[in-house]
Subunit: 333 residues, 2 copies
C-alpha cells in the first residue's frame, strides 16, 4: 500500500504533464486551431521528435489587449487614463479648456480621438508620470481592484479569455516560459499580471516612460518622467523581445496589425515555429471587430483583410472566437 | 532494495538543497563574509523565519566585470574591441591617422585613454554596430572561444571566480533567480553567459545600442545601429533593474563605485536585504586595485575609500579576495 502511494508520488513528481493528458484545453472546441496548438506542443516537447526544442528555448510571447483579455469598447488602460484625468482634474483647472483633456472630461471620445496619437501621449504622460514607481504601482492596484467594464459591469480582471488562460497553463506545464509583449504600459501590466495570468513582472515587455534615480530622505526611489522611453508596438515588439528576452520566441500570439512583426520574427527563426492570431468575430458573447471578413471597423485596433491574407499565406493559425472558443470568460459556466 | 532506491530518488527530487548541506561554498574561507551570506540565505528561505521571502521575490543581481570574472589588466570586452578594430582595420585605412583608432592600432592604451569616454563610445560603435544581431552573436562566440588573457594565457571564460560560481549555484538551489546587471554590452554577455555562468539571456541586463527591424529577402532581422540605447552603469543599473526585472532585488553584488546605486536600491526595500562588494586585494593570485585601503589605482574601475566607508556605515559585506577566497579560479586545484 505504502509502496503504491510512493509510486504515485513519483509519477506526480516526474510527470506533472500527465494531469493534462485528458484535455489540456477544455474551453477550446475541437477544430484546426486547437489541433494545431496541441500538435505543435507535442512535437517540440517530444525528445524523440526531429522538432524537439530544449526547455530553455521554449519561449512563447503573447500580446495582451484583445489576446489575453477583452479590449472592447476600449483597451482597459484607456479607462485608467480617463479615471485618472477625472481624479486629477481639480488640480488642473486649465484642462477644462485644453484638448484632449476638455473632450475627455466631457466623455467625448470622438473629440479625444481627433487629437490623434499626440493627444493620447499627452494624456498618458499627465496621468502616468510625476510619481515614484512604488506610488504608481499602488495607484494601479487600487484602481484595478474596483474598475469595471461599462458594458458588462464585470471587473476588467474578470474579463480575461478562459481559453487563453488554459493555453498559458498548458504551455507552462510543458516547460515554456510565457511572456506578455504588449503595446500597453509595462508598469501598468506588472501591477496585476502575476495575480491574473501567473506571469511575473520580469516576463512582461511593454511600452515605457523614462525614470530617474533619486535619493529622497536617504531612500532610493525611481521617479517616473513625462518622456517616452520605448514604444512596444509593431516593429517595437521585435526590438523589445530582443532587448528583454534575448531569444527568439518559438510561439507567438496576437490579434492585430500591431502584432504582425512579432509573428514574422517568430516564424523567421530556424526549426519549428508557431504563430496565432485571434479574430474577434463573436458579437454576441464578446465583441465583433475587424475589418477583416466584413467585421465592423473599430477605433485603435485592426485585424485587416491584408493581415488575414498574410496569415493564410504564411500558415498562421487564425482563431475564430465564435467557432473555436467554447467559453469566452472564466465566469461563464 | 528497490524500495530503498525509490526513497533515495524521492529524497533527491524533493530536497535538491540537501546536496549542499555539508558546505555550499567550499572555496570561501570561514569568516564573516561567508557567514553573512549563509545566514542571510537561511533566514529568507526558512518558512518559519520572520524574514522569509517567497520564491518569486528571491532576486539576486550581480555585476559582471570584477565581480563574476577577472577584469584586470583590462575589462574583457575591451580586448574584444581591440581585436575587432585590428580585424576591421584593412577596410578602414583612415583609422591609421584618426584617434582613438590610431593609438589603439599601435597598442598605445595611454593614447586611447586620452580620448576619454567619447573615444571609447566611438570604438564601441565602430565594432559593435552595422551587422544583424545574429551576425554579432556569431562574431562574439567565435572570438570568445579562443580569446585569452595576456597575463595568464588562460581563456577569459576560464578566469571566472570560483567562489562566485559556487555562490550562483547555492542561490539558485535555494530558489533565487540570478541576474547579471552590468555596464558591459548586453549582447556581448548573452552570447556566452548561459554556458559560463548558467545565466540565461533573459536574466542579463546590460548596456545596449539601438536596433532596427528590417525584412531582408523576406526574412526578419534586427540590424545593430551605431547609437547608444541604454547605459547600464551607476543609476543606470537601478533604472535597468526596474525596466527589465520589475522587482527590487533582495541581494546585490558588485565591486566598484558603478555598483553603489544598485546596492543602495537593494537595501532601500522593505524586509531582509543583503549587499556585498568584492575588494580585489590579492595581487599574487589575481590583481590588487582600489584605491581603497592603499591599493593601487587602476584605469576604468574604482573601489574608492569613500565606497569602502559607505559600505561600512551601511552594513554591506566587503569581501577580501586575499582573506575570504580559498581559491580564485576554477582551474586552481
Amino acid at each position: 500500500m505504502k509502496r503504491v502511494r510512493t509510486r504515485i508520488l513519483i509519477a506526480l513528481l516526474l510527470f506533472p504533464v500527465a494531469a493534462f493528458a485528458k484535455d489540456p484545453l477544455p474551453s477550446w472546441n475541437n477544430g484546426p486551431a486547437k489541433q494545431s496548438i496541441i500538435a505543435f506542443v507535442e512535437k517540440v516537447t517530444n525528445p524523440g521528435s526531429p522538432d524537439f526544442v530544449p526547455t530553455p528555448e521554449r519561449i512563447a510571447t503573447f500580446d495582451n489587449d484583445g489576446t489575453l483579455w477583452n479590449e472592447e469598447p476600449l483597451p482597459v488602460q484607456l479607462y485608467f487614463v480617463i479615471d485618472r484625468v477625472k481624479a486629477l482634474a481639480p488640480r488642473h483647472p486649465e484642462w477644462k479648456t485644453t484638448e484632449p483633456f476638455a473632450s475627455l472630461l466631457k466623455s467625448d471620445m470622438k473629440g479625444v480621438e481627433t487629437g490623434g496619437e499626440r493627444g493620447l501621449v499627452e494624456l498618458i504622460m499627465s496621468t502616468h508620470a510625476g510619481m515614484t514607481t512604488v506610488e504608481f504601482e499602488k495607484i494601479v492596484n487600487d484602481w484595478i481592484a474596483n474598475a469595471r467594464n461599462p458594458k458588462t459591469g464585470k471587473l476588467f480582471t474578470e474579463m480575461t479569455f478562459q481559453p487563453m488562460l488554459e493555453l498559458l497553463a498548458y504551455l507552462r506545464a510543458n516547460g515554456f516560459k510565457t511572456y506578455i509583449v504588449s503595446g500597453g504600459g509595462i508598469e501598468f501590466m506588472r501591477a496585476w499580471a502575476e495575480r491574473v495570468y501567473g506571469i511575473p513582472p520580469e516576463q512582461i515587455v511593454g511600452s515605457s516612460i523614462k525614470t530617474k534615480f533619486e535619493m529622497r530622505d536617504g531612500k532610493p526611489v525611481l521617479v517616473r518622467l513625462p518622456e517616452l522611453n520605448f514604444n512596444d508596438n509593431n516593429d517595437g515588439k521585435v526590438i523589445g523581445i530582443n532587448q528583454y528576452i534575448g531569444r527568439r520566441p518559438i510561439m507567438a500570439f496576437g490579434n492585430s496589425t500591431g502584432d504582425k512583426e512579432m509573428l514574422q520574427y517568430t516564424q523567421g527563426g530556424s526549426g519549428a515555429r508557431f504563430e496565432l492570431l485571434v479574430l474577434h468575430d463573436d458579437g454576441v458573447r464578446e465583441a465583433a471587430y475587424g475589418p477583416a471578413r466584413g467585421l465592423p471597423k473599430v477605433p485603435l485596433v485592426q485585424f485587416t483583410p491584408e493581415l488575414d491574407e498574410y496569415a493564410r499565406q504564411n500558415g498562421w493559425t487564425v482563431v475564430s472566437t465564435k467557432n473555436d472558443w467554447k467559453r469566452i470568460y472564466p465566469f461563464e459556466k
